[in-house]
């Protein structure tokens, strides 16, 4: 019961935080993705035609939604947990009788909440541009949730190791954004030369985007089961790593 109250306190605080600053957290992805849909989907997409039997606009919608989920679930945890370290109010949690897993799940839960909320905002905007009917609701929701979880965990680890505000922007700018763009948001990997197709398969985001695309419109370049295994494997690994870091107090204590 005590742990549940502590978990509830952390997650309520986290959700309150990103809702309080909604012009920074919810509004920008709405504007950015509306521009993506307008420019890439509408203006350029009409000239591209169809991919895998669907219109270009329909093809890019799942990737753009999932890219928003990835970047915002990550950004929420990395910025919030790093600020907590920076302002030293992490000490409020460390002195309290809260198990490490409650701290982790509280922050990750906040990241998931923001990722999913931003995803819903972007999905709402996409409905103005494309007529999406869900192909497989279970796959869609589970990929949506698992991806938010994975990148919230990754954001947590980034925040643990970060020593400055620069450190929390390096991974999103130089790793996540390129991997998302190269993960087949705007194209099918089958359109690439064979060598680049093989290289692309090493990008885990490619699997998530394709699994989500399968859930929404029934089109994928990869095997869905492999996508779930990769995502689940990463979640397990990052969870264990986060708990180990908290247990050792790396980047937090001393």
């Amino acid at each position: 019961m005590n742990n549940f109250i502590a978990f509830h306190t952390i997650i309520r605080k986290e959700i309150h935080r990103f809702l309080r600053i909604w012009p920074q957290t919810l509004l920008p992805p709405a504007i950015t993705t509306a521009l993506y849909f307008l420019i890439f989907g509408k203006l350029i997409g009409d000239r591209i035609g169809s991919i895998s039997g669907v219109t270009y606009m329909e093809y890019i919608v799942p990737g753009i939604i999932l890219m928003s989920v990835i970047s915002h679930s990550y950004a929420n945890v990395v910025s919030s947990f790093y600020s907590t370290k920076f302002q030293r109010n992490i000490e409020e949690l460390l002195v309290a009788p809260i198990p490490n897993w409650v701290i982790l799940f509280g922050y990750v839960g906040g990241g998931i909440a923001r990722g999913l909320l931003v995803g819903m905002v972007v999905t709402g905007i996409s409905l103005f541009f494309a007529d999406i009917t869900v192909n497989n609701l279970a796959v869609t929701i589970s990929v949506y949730f698992l991806t938010a979880t994975l990148f919230a965990l990754a954001g947590f680890i980034n925040a643990v190791f970060a020593d400055s505000f620069d450190d929390i922007s390096i991974i999103p700018n130089f790793v996540l954004t390129p991997l998302s763009y190269l993960g087949g948001i705007f194209y099918s990997v089958t359109m690439l030369p064979e060598v680049w197709q093989k290289i692309s398969l090493a990008n885990p985001i490619l699997y998530m985007i394709n699994a989500f695309r399968y859930g929404l419109i029934g089109v994928s370049d990869v095997n869905i089961n492999v996508a779930f295994m990769i995502t689940g494997g990463f979640i397990l690994f990052l969870t264990l790593l986060s708990l180990l870091l908290l247990h050792k107090g790396i980047g937090i204590k001393n």
Binding site: N2, L93, N254
Partner: protein
């Protein structure tokens, strides 16, 4: 029962600096205990380990009989910490800071709200409950940290320089508050650089220097060891040389200010009588050093 029991506690940081070289310390339940030492002596490291903010290298810590390593949650539940530096979210309201802390301790919302109100009223911050904390004065921020530390009704309250940088009026009101909390049964461990604060509030004392405890005793026992007092005398008329009186050491600060060292047991009446015989009239007298300060300097310089 001991509120705190520390055995052979050692800490060496990753950069090789040894902050604690093996300290043993026991604080009885209900005590008002002073942990003193110069900067870098190891006080904050010791407090950091007790409150789980710093990992120890070796040794053991138990809080009200609960081993901090084996029964972490129970041990932590007994502690309230007021750290040296402001460490709450500066963008949160006063009420939310205290309320969230109650939540971290697993307190149900109804009780948390009641305790938050009680603690904020005790710290005279209830009127500021909806103010964003960064807009508070320095003294108010310190009181927020005390309210936050008290919200789960800890049995052991650790105050790490709680009055640093606050004006004398707030400091005195905080002393009253600390005494009141201690009288209600909460054990208090206080670190401070204001030695008069420790002298007037605490019953027992430990002095830490260079990572080891150099003194551990009752405050009154310690003060009884003082063997001299230093006084400053304001004179009515100027003098050119310090007077010579057996048993007293004089030093002329300026031609109307005289400093005198009085050994323990020597009578001040005799001093005034001797000065009067030399036509030296004293207008006023003040104790130059705090008694504990004098002992403290002797102990850490040994």
């Amino acid at each position: 029962m001991n509120a705190l029991s520390i055995k052979n506690l050692k800490k060496t940081y990753s950069n090789g600096f040894t902050a604690l070289r093996g300290i043993d310390l026991e604080v009885e339940s209900g005590d008002f205990f002073a942990l003193l030492g110069p900067n870098g002596a190891g006080k904050s490291t010791a407090i950091g380990i007790i409150s789980s903010l710093v990992n120890k290298s070796s040794g053991s810590v138990s809080i009200f009989g609960y081993d901090l390593k084996k029964e972490t949650a129970k041990a932590k539940s007994c502690i309230g910490l007021v750290p040296q530096e402001i460490n709450f979210n500066q963008f949160e309201t006063v009420k939310n800071i205290v309320l969230n802390q109650a939540g971290y301790y697993g307190m149900p919302k109804k009780t948390a709200l009641m305790n938050t109100e009680k603690c904020l009223k005790q710290m005279t911050l209830w009127d500021k409950r909806d103010t964003v904390s960064r807009r508070l004065s320095g003294g108010m921020k310190r009181r927020v940290m005390i309210a936050r530390a008290l919200v789960h009704a800890p049995k052991l309250l650790i105050l790490d320089e709680p009055t640093a940088g606050v004006d004398i009026e707030i400091r005195r009101s905080m002393w009253e508050m600390m005494e009141q909390v201690n009288k209600q049964g909460t054990t208090i461990i206080l670190t401070t650089h204001y030695l008069e604060e420790a002298e007037s509030l605490c019953r027992n004392i430990a002095i830490i220097n260079d990572g080891i405890i150099v003194e551990k005793s009752g405050m009154s026992d310690l003060l009884a060891r003082i063997n001299k007092d230093l006084f400053v005398l304001d004179l009515s008329d100027p003098i050119s040389n310090p007077p010579q009186v057996d048993g007293y050491d004089f030093e002329l600060i300026d031609n109307k200010t005289l400093q005198v060292t009085v050994p323990k047991g020597k009578n001040l009446n005799l001093l005034f009588q001797k000065l009067s015989e030399k036509n030296i009239n004293v207008l006023s007298l003040k104790n130059k050093t705090n008694r504990l300060e004098q002992l403290f300097m002797d102990l850490v310089n040994e």
